[in-house]
């Protein structure tokens, strides 16, 4: 495979991999997986005042998936939590140079982020009670 240099760089040296210790305040995690696509993605996001302060991830997947998760984590960090539903991997695919037949894998990244958002919503609702 001839990966674009951004994919290569992100795949070979992803940032934000080391997981949070358990029990850190404001950290939720969300994951998604698809066995037929051979992909599993998990984000851990630490939200402070509605902003994603820190994000960590783990991923089992092909280099494109790893690179895209790394990009997504970087992009999310510092944004409002609404961004978890706004990754836009369909548009992002081409910029990263990911072949269209990998799109399914990329969409799982959106699912994992959305799972975090769902947890956050539940937390907020619980807090509000």
């Amino acid at each position: 495979m001839d990966y674009e240099s951004e994919v290569k760089q992100r795949f070979l040296s992803p940032n934000r991999v080391k997981s949070f210790e358990e029990g850190i305040a404001g950290v939720v995690s969300g994951e998604s997986s698809d066995r037929t696509l051979n992909v599993w993605v998990r984000f851990q996001v630490q939200v402070i005042n509605g902003l994603i302060r820190t994000i960590r991830f783990n991923v089992y997947g092909c280099p494109y998936t790893v690179a895209a998760v790394d990009w997504a984590a970087e992009w999310l960090e510092g944004r409002e939590t609404g961004a978890l539903l706004d990754l836009g991997m369909i548009d992002r695919r081409k910029e990263l140079g990911v072949p269209v037949d990998r799109l399914g894998k990329l969409l799982l990244i959106e699912d994992a982020a959305a799972a975090c958002q769902k947890k956050l919503e539940r937390l907020t609702t619980q807090d509000g009670n």
Binding site: M1, V17, S33, R35, W40, N58, G61, C62, P63
Partner: protein
């Protein structure tokens, strides 16, 4: 800075041995024996000497009679010719072909093509190591079975079939027997006089000969239809100008390919590799522990995605399975056929060692594999059960 690069993909192809290159060059430029060996003039006769010598070298390597070696463009063509030519020429005997799901695509896809033409195919069973027993083959043979096609050394796992037993059964049952031996020569002994076989596919480029030349051993008396028509070279079995330099290189390569001498050296490198790999957690061997060729080691790294592992090991030339025509190989049909899940099959790598592999190459590869397996495992920490079993 040029990074270190190690080639451990000898099962995909081998470099051409320098002695073989020499033999080839003798048949090329304006001062070489470049003529058409079918020409009756002296230039043609000089070219023919190379053809005759090579045919003798190849025949000798597999214990065959000289005029049972029919040159082709490689094992792919040989496999096609063996299956299509035999099935077409023996329709009076029946229309049933037996092969296995472990075969190379050159056999499998040809079998499917024959199926489309109305022939019947049975895939014989095998055990979890990929070994086919005579009992399993006996079950598959029918009264209208014409041909059994089973490979000698599996190109993904290195698993070795018991040709003597399978061949004996075929003979008893009056069924023709084809063996794809593309991976065998120079690694394991193969002598057509030792067992009952009608057709054997050979190729030069897996044994330090050139790509694009191979042969089909055709037992005397076999009835097989040609696939390529024309000038009636090769007793009419296979037309087309014989490629003198290719055949000369093929012959030289086979003359050099002594399994008794090289087999133990290959086994030593492979065992060194396995000794270093098996101590990594979650690493398992695919294939059979003893019934195998010394040059191939197929290993599953549970919990590590295969494409990522291969990409991380960009300095080590290895393969997901067979050299295939796609950047994203489907999980190996061979490993899945042996019972591995899709995930584990795609977490597997084929390492294949060869004549130019050194002990320090293996040391380097072991270091790199350990590093990357650990890195990717950490990246995937927390991954679900299906990635590891």
């Amino acid at each position: 800075m040029e990074a270190k690069k190690i080639y451990l993909d000898y099962a995909a192809t081998t470099p051409v041995d320098p002695e073989v290159v020499e033999a080839m060059i003798q048949c090329l430029g304006p001062d070489g024996d470049y003529a058409n060996s079918s020409s009756s003039h002296f230039f043609g006769k000089s070219a023919k000497v190379h053809i005759d010598t090579a045919r003798g070298q190849i025949a000798a390597r597999i214990g065959a009679e000289v005029d049972s070696i029919c040159f082709t463009s490689g094992a792919t063509e040989s496999d096609n010719m063996a299956l299509i030519g035999t099935m077409n020429a023996n329709q009076h005997r029946g229309r049933h072909l037996i092969t296995s799901t472990l075969e190379h695509k050159a056999v499998l896809d040809t079998a499917y093509a024959l199926k489309d033409q109305g022939f019947e195919i049975t895939f014989v069973d095998h055990d979890e190591h990929g070994v086919i027993s005579t009992q399993q083959l006996a079950t598959a043979i029918r009264n209208d079975t014409v041909l059994v096609s089973i490979m000698h050394v599996n190109n993904e796992t290195g698993v070795l079939q018991d040709l003597a037993a399978l061949g004996e059964l075929c003979q008893e049952r009056g069924v023709l027997f084809h063996v794809d031996a593309a991976q065998s020569v120079g690694k394991v002994p193969l002598n057509v006089a030792d067992f009952s076989v009608d057709l054997v596919s050979l190729t030069a480029h897996k044994a330090y000969g050139p790509m694009g030349i191979g042969a089909l051993y055709i037992r005397k008396g076999m009835k097989i239809a040609p696939m390529i028509y024309g000038g009636e070279q090769e007793w009419g079995y296979r037309s087309g100008t014989l490629a003198t330099h290719q055949i000369a290189g093929f012959g030289k390569a086979f003359a050099l390919a002594d399994p008794d001498q090289e087999g133990p050296l290959l086994a030593a490198r492979r065992d060194q590799l396995w000794a270093g790999l098996k101590v990594i957690e979650g690493v398992s061997l695919n294939g059979h522990a003893t019934k195998r060729s010394p040059h191939i080691l197929n290993v599953t790294f549970a919990g590590v995605e295969g494409e990522s592992l291969r990409t991380s090991l960009a300095d080590v030339a290895i393969s997901a399975g067979s050299a295939c025509n796609s950047d994203v190989p489907d999980p190996s049909h061979v490993l899945r056929g042996m019972g591995l899940s899709d995930a584990l099959a795609s977490s597997s790598l084929r390492f294949s060692v060869g004549r130019f592999t050194t002990e320090s190459d293996i040391d380097y590869v072991l270091k790199r594999v350990r590093e990357e397996v650990l890195r990717l495992r950490e990246l995937a920490s927390g991954a679900p059960e299906w990635t590891v079993s």
